[in-house]
């Protein structure tokens, strides 16, 4: 039983890495800042969650898992803050996408 959980955990970690590689690929591929923010910032979150769930499965129910859960909660609270503040900084400095955006 533990063997199967171990295997599934390793597969989940692999899937998380694939998601993260996709995030890096799109950060290199897209050609304007706002697309990069929208895609990468949070395709990365999917990879993060998958990898942590894989680690939780490998470890079983222990204090290691509980600490990982704590990390998940803190990361879910703080990582959108930094993305939001970067996007807001670009927007407030006058970086725009296209002409038909209304300004007030």
């Amino acid at each position: 039983m533990a063997q199967i959980a171990h295997l599934i955990g390793q597969i989940l970690i692999g899937i998380g890495l694939v998601f993260m590689a996709f995030g890096i690929y799109s950060v290199l591929r897209f050609r304007d800042f706002y697309s990069r923010v929208v895609i990468t910032a949070k395709v990365d979150t999917v990879g993060f969650l998958t990898l942590i769930f894989g680690a939780m499965l490998i470890e079983g129910f222990s204090f290691f898992t509980l600490k990982l859960a704590l990390i998940v909660v803190f990361e879910l609270l703080t990582s959108p803050i930094s993305t939001h503040s970067i996007a807001h900084s670009a927007y407030a400095s006058g970086y725009r996408i296209r002409k038909d955006v209304r300004v007030d």
């Binding site: 803190f74 609270l77 703080t78 803050i81 939001h84 503040s85």
Partner: protein, 128 residues
């Protein structure tokens, strides 16, 4: 200005007590996990810095913090002089743990106050 910063300052406000608890954990458990006075104190100092950045709160009393820090230094010198150099540690080995925790706490609060005073003073001085 307040309306604009609202999302960041709300979530940071939610995190304040968690940062304090984590800082105290790093200070208190310094004697058997990595961490200790300096690291925990720096975490507590980052809390005040984050508060200054996010909420633009400059209500920190530098003079009083500096006085508290001087008093902590006096205790910090006194305790090991009595305990370690006065060979009490060899006579009462069961109080060793208490001594370590107490010293870590003292160093932690001293470093937190010291770093906060340094950074605030520098930021304020450059501001005006």
């Amino acid at each position: 200005m307040k309306q604009e910063a609202s999302i960041v300052s709300s979530i940071t406000g939610l995190l304040y007590p968690f940062i304090i608890v984590f800082g105290i954990y790093v200070i208190l458990n310094g004697h058997d996990t990595p961490g200790g006075g300096f690291q925990g104190g720096a975490i507590l100092a980052v809390l005040f810095i984050g508060r200054y950045i996010v909420a633009h709160a400059d209500d920190f009393n530098i003079g009083r913090a500096h006085n508290v820090e001087k008093a902590l230094l006096a205790v910090l010198i006194l305790v090991p002089v009595v305990f370690v150099f006065g060979s009490l540690s060899r006579r009462f080995p069961q109080y060793n743990q208490v001594y370590l925790v107490f010293m870590n706490l003292l160093i932690g609060f001293k470093v937190a106050l010291g770093l906060t005073v340094v950074v605030f003073r520098y930021a304020f001085y450059e501001d005006r």
